[in-house]
Symmetry: none
Subunit: 236 residues, 2 copies
DNA sequence: TCCAACCCTTAACATGCCATTAACAGACAA
DNA sequence: TTGTCTGTTAATGGCATGTTAAGGGTTGGA
């Protein structure tokens, strides 16, 4: 069974070049162009290696790496455009396994890819080969609240909650940043996208709706609390 | 090495049509017109698949199948003219791997032939592996819905549903990912292929057709549910 | 080689849901 | 109190999905 590599790169020509060359080496390759798709495909594909560009629409590579690191053991090879990003890449913030600074040659990339996969293979064998057959259901659980990533569904006391698309995305984002104060602007940028033009009060309305659905008493919220003058914070 | 197929059919025009089409697909093909020759050729050729008509001079298809079954592991695809023969064909008396009822289209035949050969290939590879790594699922069943992988056929309440190739592939993919939300993009990549250039709404149309065929009430689907803002989810 | 049948894709229209905004109310800090 | 921030609600325009049919390509059959 060929090893699977997920390419996350928004620049199409580079994406295609990478895919072409990696396929030629016999790997199973998938490629996506933005952070959101990266999460979706990674969760389902369970790739052995993720080639991850930092500059991405919707959600940057740091964010993607940070989230996926918690969820899976795939090796992460980051592509950086500027030298000053390297510290963050290899540092504790992300903890990528390796990185390449643009521009790089295919030869370099291949060497790094092979090196990472070899290392991953060794690691796997050491760990007694606990290889999952079926895709495990990814879930985030907070007491009686469950976010089922695989089904894209929210459960309260194990009962499905009817939830609208934006509400789901917002809740997921909040949950992924538990206990962190998130400003409306930050939320807008990450959930709505950097190109969103509009009123930050939009967030308030969605929070209101979420509270009605997941709070025991939506007038006295304990899960999504307001940080006056700051934004919102998800407690769990 | 091309796979070998033996055609046993006394009606010359059909024999020639079959041979012509199978050869065009790249198989090595031999054709005979009676039961006695069938035995002789089968023993010498050791074909991977035998397409066997029931109505034959000298010795009928049942007899041929019964004898050859003991001698070799070739897949047997029987051609029946009447519905009332089906029971004997698929029953214990003969135990054909698959059957087709006349009249049938070349398209159908090709699908069955490919399916059988693929299955035979898999079986061959499985030899020598652990026994509990059972035969790759021949059927997927969800209540009154059955997807028969071997026959490449969908049954609703044990009755065959006429289903188009893309519909079948889509349904199979959904079924293999039961309870998972699948985005249109993901579906396109996996079912249509990574190089598909086109509108993701294409998925919607195929879903619509599937719903008409497998949902009790296609206006209120319970099997293939839509996840607004996400994609679709097959519930079973 | 040509015809007929079949199927995929897309475009176009229909429809129902949802995001956004505005407006007002209430809460909090100065 | 007063101004600012947040809560809350409802209307509306837009968007995602449902649905249908036609065009065009492909395949089988003669």
């Amino acid at each position: 069974m060929a090893e699977t590599i997920l390419i996350v790169e928004d620049e199409i020509s580079l994406q295609e070049t990478l895919a072409y060359n990696l396929k030629k080496e016999g790997y199973t390759v998938e490629a996506v162009g933005d952070g959101r798709s990266a999460l979706e495909f990674a969760r389902r594909l369970r790739p052995d290696l993720i080639v991850l560009d930092i500059m991405l629409p919707e959600m940057d590579g740091f964010e993607v790496a940070r989230i996926l690191r918690k969820e899976m053991s795939a090796a992460i090879l980051m592509l950086t455009a500027r030298d000053d990003e390297i510290d963050r890449v290899v540092g504790l913030e992300v903890g990528a396994d390796d990185y390449l600074t643009k521009p790089f040659s295919m030869r370099e990339l291949m060497a790094r890819v092979k090196s990472q996969l070899r290392r991953a293979r060794l690691l796997r064998e050491e760990m007694g080969k606990s290889k999952d057959a079926a895709t495990p259901h990814e879930k985030l659980t907070f007491e009686n609240l469950t976010i089922d990533l695989t089904r894209r569904e929210v459960l309260l006391n194990d009962k499905p909650v009817q939830i609208k698309p934006k509400e789901y995305e917002l809740l997921l984002f909040l949950a992924e940043h538990r206990r962190q104060m998130l400003s409306r602007e930050f939320i807008l940028e990450r959930v709505w996208g950097w190109d969103f033009i509009g009123d930050s009060r939009t967030v308030d309305v969605h929070v209101r709706w979420l509270r009605q659905k997941i709070e025991a008493d939506s007038s006295n919220p304990t899960r999504i609390v307001t940080v006056r003058g700051g934004g919102y914070r998800f407690e769990g």
